[in-house]
């Protein structure tokens, strides 16, 4: 998340929005945003409704055995069609902003 914030201007320059989704309630997300300086939306899905709809639920992996989201990244085009997906097989290894920027460059070469 920090790395996406650091390169947020490069996404903004391409007209691409960044959004995070987790089970954390808005209070936690507000505190984290202030602490880490996140300026993109962190959305709260405490009942895992959307997380389930995307099939990115990690059952029982949260504190006290709660359900949380597994790390996953989706790049959508302006019509909401998925153009690139990253589903890691290692919780410690998540998509880097440069991977998504590369995918963006391949989908719509710079200068358009």
């Amino acid at each position: 998340m920090r790395s996406f914030q650091r390169r947020l201007s490069e996404f903004e320059a391409r007209g691409v929005r960044v959004v995070g989704i987790s089970v954390d309630p808005p209070e936690i997300n507000r505190r984290q945003s202030q602490k880490q300086g996140y300026t993109f939306p962190l959305l709260s899905d405490p009942k895992t409704k959307i997380i389930r709809r995307y099939d990115v639920l990690h059952p029982g992996a949260g504190p006290k055995g709660g359900d949380i989201a597994r790390p996953a990244e989706f790049l959508l085009d302006s019509n909401g069609i998925v153009r690139w997906v990253n589903l890691t097989d290692n919780i410690a290894v998540r998509a880097r902003p440069e991977q998504v920027l590369d995918a963006l460059n391949q989908l719509s070469p710079a200068g358009q």
Partner: protein, 142 residues
């Protein structure tokens, strides 16, 4: 006669402990982010020192101390590295398959959720006036 301090045992053990507690630090560096090889390097150095110390303690017990605490430190080291390896090579890789996740070419499911300011944000809002959206699911800060 007083026997000499067996420093490799102590230093080796401290290096192993440092290898565990530096995990968070190395996880932030680009070159050690995806695989904690720096931590395993520290474990290797620590083990080498511990073995050298044990050879001294058991090989020349009349000169060097460390038969008892060298054995205790070595046992703790084995347990610590076994647990660390279990986490890195097994536990972190237990990720659900997510076979039903939206694929390339499919329409992403809609959502309407509260942001950090308590304001509802929908996928439609994010898509309007933009050329795309990066949706990042994350485990959360709890």
């Amino acid at each position: 006669m007083k026997r000499r301090w067996n420093w490799p045992i102590w230093v080796g053990f401290v290096v192993v402990v440092a290898g565990v507690f530096s995990y968070e630090f190395f996880a932030r560096l680009p070159i050690t982010r995806d695989f904690p090889w720096a931590n395993f390097l520290l474990f290797g150095i620590g083990i080498a020192l511990l073995i050298a110390g044990l050879f001294r303690a058991f090989g020349r017990p009349q000169v060097y101390r460390g038969k008892i605490f060298g054995s205790i430190f070595s046992a703790i080291t084995v347990l610590v590295i076994a647990f660390f390896s279990y986490e890195i090579f097994y536990a972190l890789r237990q990720v659900p398959a997510s076979d039903g996740a939206p694929r390339v070419g499919q329409k992403a499911p809609d959502f309407l959720l509260l942001d950090q300011n308590g304001k509802p944000v929908g996928l439609g809002d994010l898509l309007s006036n933009s050329k795309g959206v990066v949706v990042i699911f994350y485990r959360g800060f709890w």
